[in-house]
């Protein structure tokens, strides 16, 4: 089985971090994984996106063109990638930043007001983790050892105080 994820939003929303966490979790589960960021001047406050592939097979091209799962954290990202999602795929929409609805009817859509929820709950900057919590819960892998290990790999000891906040944000997302 192969799952292709595309994370897209503004620089600073933790797009690359969320992708890295998912890739590390896949590694901890013994899967083949790849993570490829967009790189270049657009990262400085502009759009950011990253391709993540988690697979039981060896991974060929690391570039995700037709995601099974799209995480859109701003309107330009949804506009750009909505039609690329495979039929039957899933789109996660940060509905506090994206006012419009997904126009397709052949995909599952989850509207999560992640950015406003994060602000309300004192979890500033963790909208990405609220969506991740929802995503991992839907995949049935939120309460897993591999996720804890992946968190440990992605959050350096220097920022250990952020660990619990990330867990809280994912827990919040899972309840939506």
């Amino acid at each position: 089985m192969t799952t292709q994820y595309l994370f897209a939003g503004f620089g600073g929303q933790g797009i690359l971090f969320a992708g890295k966490l998912l890739a590390y979790k896949g590694l901890m589960d013994g899967k083949n994984v790849s993570w490829l960021p967009s790189y270049g001047p657009e990262m400085r406050g502009g759009t950011a996106n990253c391709s993540v592939i988690v697979s039981d097979e060896p991974i060929g091209a690391p570039i995700v063109l037709n995601p099974d799962v799209l995480i859109a954290m701003n309107l330009p990202s949804l506009d750009r990638y909505e039609n690329d999602v495979v039929p039957g795929g899933t789109i996660y929409v940060d509905s506090s930043l994206i006012e419009r609805k997904v126009t397709r009817d052949d995909v599952t859509v989850r509207y999560i007001p992640a950015t406003s929820l994060a602000a309300q709950k004192g979890l500033d900057g963790l909208a990405n983790m609220i969506i991740m919590g929802n995503l991992l819960n839907n995949e049935g892998s939120l309460a897993s050892e591999s996720l804890e290990k992946a968190l440990g790999k992605c959050i350096s000891a220097r920022h250990a105080d952020r660990l619990q906040l990330n867990r809280d944000a994912m827990s919040l997302g899972s309840e939506l």
Binding site: L36, Y39, G40, P62, K153
Partner: protein
């Protein structure tokens, strides 16, 4: 199984270089390879090594020359326009028979070009790049794991044959993260009795130089160097064959293009098309054997490249033009999609070229 870590290709190069005993890195920043310099800047001071950001690429490559002449394992890295600047220094390294490892994380060109991935420095890398008759060994990793393994191999080959070795990567393989294992066999650097390490009054001077004003003498150095190149061509050509045994169509690609091509080959196999992949892991020396073999049982070879058609010339030479060789490519920082390659395979299967 040893632990795997998730790492960017560029970081894997830097870590592998340190494991190989490289304690001297000289560079100048350029996208998309700056992570190499950043990693070296962080690590080298902690392990007694030298990280130095030079005032230019030209300065950096000449610092490499100096450290190599002193017998040290040394590396520099850059991306396409920066490698052009290093060309003079690389020629001097070759002319002085000095080992060094040079990384090129290629980006689109010519000129300043762009910062997205490319393979358009193939000619420059495989034909030497600077002036004079010389070659570098050129290694082409297609995964983060190979970025690590081939970096270590690069230091070994550089020392073994006393010549510059290039790791020809690209922006994608440099920027992507994949699991990598560093539990790798590492040979210590060999003795270097030719190095300029100080005579202590006990031996004759070692001279490192590429200037020979006597043409007969200069001719002899070229002839001897090319005899060494013949040995390298015999012993060091590397490649991977994927589903080639019964293939009627061969696709050939290296680096990121090979990754894209593997997807296309797998899809085409599902459609019943007998297609395989030849992936060169060295592009100098160019591995001729798999193409000679393919020419016996394939009707066409498709060369997938991120350039206007450069490796295709070596492919045609390797199969002696016995079968048609066509090009499937994108340039300027664009990457062919698996579907583009699949369409080329389908067209070849139908008999079109």
């Amino acid at each position: 199984m040893a632990d795997k870590v998730l790492m960017k290709g560029n970081e894997a190069i830097a870590e592998a270089a340190i494991l190989a005993g490289c304690r001297h890195y000289f560079g100048y920043p350029i996208t998309p390879q700056t992570e190499i310099a950043a990693y070296m800047a962080k690590r080298m001071p902690k392990i007694g090594g030298t990280f130095l950001q030079a005032e230019s690429e030209i300065a950096a490559i000449n610092m490499v020359y100096g450290a190599s002449a002193a017998g040290k394992r040394v590396m520099t890295s850059s991306s396409s326009p920066g490698i052009s600047l290093k060309g003079e220094g690389i020629s001097y390294l070759a002319g002085s028979d000095l080992p060094a490892v040079i990384v090129n994380a290629q980006r689109g060109g010519p000129g300043l070009g762009g910062i997205q991935p490319s393979q358009s420095d193939y000619f420059q890398a495989t034909r030497g790049g600077g002036h004079g008759d010389y070659h570098m060994i050129v290694l082409t990793p297609d995964s983060v794991q190979e970025m690590a393994e081939l970096t270590i191999k690069a230091f070994d080959l550089a020392d073994k044959y006393r010549m510059p070795v290039m790791l020809l990567a690209d922006g994608t393989i440099g920027q992507m993260m994949e699991p990598v294992c560093f539990d790798l066999a590492i040979d210590p650097a060999p003795e270097k009795p030719w190095a300029t390490t100080g005579t202590e009054g006990k031996r004759a001077h070692n001279v490192i130089n590429s200037l020979y004003l006597n043409p007969a003498e200069l001719e002899q150095t070229n002839i001897e160097r090319y005899a060494r190149y013949d040995e390298i061509a015999k012993n060091e050509a590397r490649y991977e064959e994927y589903l080639m045994d019964d293939a009627e169509i061969a696709v050939t690609a290296f680096g990121i293009a090979a990754r894209v091509t593997k997807n296309a080959v797998n899809e085409a196999r599902k459609e019943g098309i007998k297609v395989g992949l030849i992936r060169p892991i060295t592009v100098w020396p160019f591995p001729k054997a798999p193409y000679e073999k393919a020419a016996e049982h394939c009707k066409q070879i498709i060369s997938v490249e991120l350039n206007m058609g450069q490796m295709i010339e070596d492919v045609r030479l390797a199969c002696n033009c016995k079968i048609p060789v066509s090009l499937c490519s994108r340039v300027g920082g664009m990457i062919p999609t698996p579907n583009q390659v699949l369409d080329a395979i389908r067209a070849a299967a139908k008999g079109g070229k």
